[in-house]
């Protein structure tokens, strides 16, 4: 992270020598945007890593929780208990490798967003129908109430939206721009 920051700062410093304030301001704007972009993706990966670790470690509890949830078919519980963490793993792998292949990163972020929308919608449904509320062990942390899960998920959704927005704005020119695969070509 420090090396990356040095690389970026060096870029800004180089422009300061040219004494063009507007260029310096734009470069600082890019620097802030790139840091925000990287931090948001790191945060998103951290959340899914935590979720996967919790579900793998407490597999039995997760499977039982899924089987007891009235909204889901009981027979699907053993499969879902593996499929959900595996999908999260796959999305994280896509995002990590995506830094080398920006198109893969974009796809990974979109799948992340879709998954988070699904999870949040499921929690929203639970909050609307509290009589059928399943075990909190299905969520990110089994000690949280569903209302807390909902607000945390909303925050994660916002961060995902921000990461996708930064990716599309191409503010993060060297990371998010798939056309910068060959920077010399026009």
């Amino acid at each position: 992270m420090a090396v990356l920051l040095l690389l970026m700062l060096n870029d800004v410093k180089g422009n300061m020598k040219t004494r063009e304030p507007i260029v310096v301001v734009i470069k600082i704007y890019w620097l802030v945007a790139e840091i925000m972009y990287v931090l948001s993706i790191v945060a998103l990966l951290g959340v899914f890593a935590y979720f996967c670790a919790m579900k793998v470690r407490h597999y039995a509890t997760f499977q039982e929780g899924l089987a007891l949830a009235p909204q889901l078919p009981t027979v699907a519980a053993p499969y879902l208990a593996w499929i959900i963490p595996l999908v999260c793993f796959a999305v994280c792998a896509m995002i990590i490798y995506g830094f080398m292949q920006p198109r893969l990163l974009k796809l990974g972020l979109w799948i992340y967003l879709v998954l988070m929308v699904l999870f949040t919608a499921f929690i929203g449904y639970i909050l609307r129908h509290p009589v059928d509320a399943p075990c909190e062990c299905l969520g990110l942390d089994e000690n949280w109430r569903w209302k807390k899960h909902f607000w945390v998920n909303t925050g994660i959704l916002t961060i995902t939206g921000l990461a996708i927005w930064l990716h599309y704005k191409r503010i993060v020119a060297t990371i998010g721009n798939e056309h910068s695969e060959n920077p010399g070509k026009k």
């Binding site: 990966l45 890593a49 994280c92």
Partner: protein, 91 residues
């Protein structure tokens, strides 16, 4: 010049990829280690049966269905962890 820019882009992307991998591995391993270092716990139903389970079924049980306790080495209940499981809630 073009080669230099291309090298810088590749270096930046590799670094970012490593940072992302590091964040994922740290979070995953940290969670597993934290969970493994925790003392074993067990849930006990609050319905008077004192039945114990690793995952209480609280459907239709109403609020404060089960309480989580630390498990002593001899299998007896230790102190409460402070976690409770609720069934039907009105929130």
């Amino acid at each position: 010049m073009v080669l230099l820019i291309k090298q810088e882009v590749i270096m930046k992307r590799t670094l970012l990829s490593l940072i992302a991998l590091g964040a994922f591995v740290t979070s995953f391993a940290g969670t597993i280690v934290k969970e493994m270092m925790q003392d074993p716990t067990i849930w006990e139903y609050n319905d008077g049966t004192h039945d114990r389970t690793s995952n209480p079924d609280c459907r239709g049980a109403g609020p404060l269905c089960a309480t989580e306790y630390f498990l002593n080495e001899d299998g007896s209940l230790g102190a409460a962890t402070g976690n409770v499981r609720n069934g039907v809630r009105a929130n």
